[in-house]
């Protein structure tokens, strides 16, 4: 297994845009809907090449989702793209009623998610999005870890029959190694085997967990890393299997500690009477510290170093 400890590569949201351009070139029913967000969504090339397949609504996220619902209802393959903070808050009623409840099969793409926007502050952070969306019926929610999973999920949602939400960040990432080279929405991906500790993570935090696992391996601590790219429907079978196999459990996410992957995992373990040392790493319920994305995450131990430290604590 090769290790790459420096981040270089491409942002997931760039991969999303590249893959969408490919799909749209071959299918004129593929639409991107944007809300003054095509720049941050990396969709300027899409707009130049296929101006008839991009719909611009202006700074109006509620209208974005309503229009996407209408387009999807007539058979268009719609990707509605806007910063996750606005998409999952401003337009939440449109998502709930017009997309999910009415079952209009659009895919919403929340870009610059989590604390990607760093020092722009809480108005621009989306650490509530997974919690809110998980409580809505009829939506699959995917938080890809790397370029590979991003490419796969865009392809997997192409022509989908039901609503999806894809949550992406803007930090350049590298592709993680993986033990099974298949991707399926709703099926966890095994990044690394292990028996001492299992770490369930999603999105950009998977690479931190993986890097920490490599450090811990040097000390003979065997850590399994699972990319829980789909937070809904949750791959309960995989979680239970890995928790039974490993001595301790950790979850890591770029999200509030309320209502995200950690709480979902903890609930599942309780329901199944699995009692193991458990650590949940997420953003606490407080006025978020100022800084760039990595400073904020590091402040809350959502980093290679933080995960390493908590792994040692939980195993002693």
């Amino acid at each position: 297994m090769t290790t790459k400890t420096t981040i270089s590569g491409i942002a997931n949201q760039q991969i999303f845009a590249n893959t969408l351009v490919e799909l749209a070139r071959n299918d004129k029913d593929v639409y991107a809907v944007t809300s003054d967000s095509r720049g941050s969504g990396k969709l300027e090339a899409f707009g130049e090449e296929m101006p008839e397949q991009i719909v611009e609504v202006g700074i109006a996220e509620q209208n974005l989702v309503g229009v996407a619902a209408g387009l999807a209802s007539t058979g268009k393959k719609v990707y509605a793209v806007s910063p996750s903070c606005f998409l999952s808050a401003r337009a939440i009623e449109q998502i709930k009623n017009d997309i999910c409840y009415s079952d209009n099969p659009a895919t919403m793409v929340g870009i610059s998610a989590g604390v990607s926007y760093g020092a722009l502050g809480s108005t621009h952070h989306s650490i509530h999005d997974l919690a809110v969306l998980r409580a809505i019926n009829n939506i699959s929610i995917v938080v890809p870890a790397d370029n590979y999973e991003t490419d796969m999920v865009v392809n997997a949602t192409y022509g989908a029959m039901h609503p999806h939400f894809i949550r992406l960040g803007k930090r350049p990432l590298y592709d993680l190694p993986r033990l099974d080279n298949t991707f399926e929405i709703g099926k966890a991906s095994v990044i690394k085997n292990g028996t001492d500790l299992v770490i369930f993570a999603n999105g950009e935090t998977v690479c931190f967990a993986y890097e920490a696992a490599l450090e811990l391996a040097k000390e003979g601590i065997d850590v399994a890393i699972i990319s829980m790219h789909t937070i809904k429907p949750l791959d309960e079978k995989a979680i239970l299997k890995w928790c039974n196999k490993c001595a301790a459990v950790m979850t890591v996410e770029e999200h509030s500690l309320h209502g995200g992957l950690g709480e979902a995992t903890a609930t599942l373990l309780m329901k199944n009477s699995i009692y193991k040392p458990f650590k949940l790493l997420a953003i606490p319920d407080e006025y978020t510290i100022t800084g760039n994305q990595l400073e904020i995450l590091g402040h809350y131990d959502i980093s290679k170093e933080g995960i390493y430290k908590h792994a040692k604590t939980i195993l002693h």
Binding site: T34, G58, I59, R90, A119, L120, G121
Partner: protein, 281 residues
């Protein structure tokens, strides 16, 4: 009318100094909304140094005038003008955007003088409506000003508030629109056309005027005539230039949130210094 604290040319000089600071602090933070801060800066200058009945000693006074910046991304202009008006030492801006700083990239109430946390567009006008309504309920005479972007006008919440404000006869409410004709993607008229805003608001029951958003005396004149008409909320369209004051930033879409390079900063500062040198006090 009492004599103003500053003459027009004194305020013009302030604007030029503020412009330099905006650029320098954006450079230091390596982030910021350059174009929109430069387009609304003259308006903020006149508001805080002339129009608003608020100063560093009255930031909690129940009768103070309120200013709520709905286009929160232009926070650098607000931070610089508040520092200039004595709300905190300018040196605090050195920390803007840094780890653990309170000076984040959108207005936050952690900063003295900032009335509301904003940054998501389409929030300022509804909050301003509530604040203005409260004055009516309590028989208070303060005014509430809010500043919106022209791209921001696509947000439906603004139109909900526009209807409400007229219905409630909020003549103590002033919405200023920074009409720089640009948003991130391009010309506002090409994204979703927001032309004829005056007619639209008039149809909703507002009083309306326009001003040159870079002409100190025009801004001062228009903003001191509130309410424009009795029993109606006031809309003031400020015709502005995004990136105003730096030739290569003016009316250029890419400067929405671009940070100047070292050379661009030097050039920009020297242009502003040249402008300063030509002012006759």
């Amino acid at each position: 009318m009492s004599t103003p604290k500053y003459t027009d040319s004194e305020l013009t000089i302030k604007s030029l100094h503020y412009r330099k600071q905006v650029l320098q602090y954006i450079k230091k933070a390596n982030a910021g909304h350059t174009g929109g801060s430069l387009s609304c800066l003259d308006i903020l200058n006149v508001l805080y140094n002339d129009v608003l009945n608020v100063n560093p000693h009255t930031i909690k006074h129940p009768d103070r005038d309120r200013y709520i910046q709905s286009k929160g991304h232009s926070v650098e202009a607000l931070y610089v003008v508040l520092a200039g008006a004595g709300f905190y030492p300018e040196s605090e801006l050195e920390k803007m955007g840094q780890y653990k700083s309170h000076f984040i990239g959108h207005p936050t109430k952690k900063i003295p003088g900032v009335e509301q946390n904003t940054g998501g567009l389409g929030h300022g006008l509804p909050i301003a409506c509530g604040t203005a309504l409260s004055a009516k309920k309590d028989g208070k005479h303060y005014k509430v000003f809010t500043l919106l972007g022209d791209g921001e006008m696509a947000e439906g919440s603004n139109w909900e508030a526009a209807m409400f404000a007229a219905h409630q006869k909020l003549d103590n409410l002033v919405a200023i629109i920074d009409r720089n004709t640009l948003q991130i993607t391009g010309r506002t008229k090409d994204v979703v056309n927001s032309d004829n805003l005056g007619d639209k608001f008039t149809a909703f029951g507002w009083a309306f005027t326009e001003m040159d958003g870079h002409n100190i005396s025009d801004i001062r004149n228009k903003l001191s005539q509130i309410p424009l008409e009795p029993t109606k909320p006031s809309l003031v369209i400020a015709n502005t230039v995004k990136g105003k004051g730096v030739s290569f930033m003016e009316d250029e879409r890419k400067w929405h949130h671009k940070v100047p390079s070292d050379e661009e900063l030097t050039l920009a500062i020297s242009e502003i210094d040249n402008a300063l040198a030509t002012i006759i006090v």
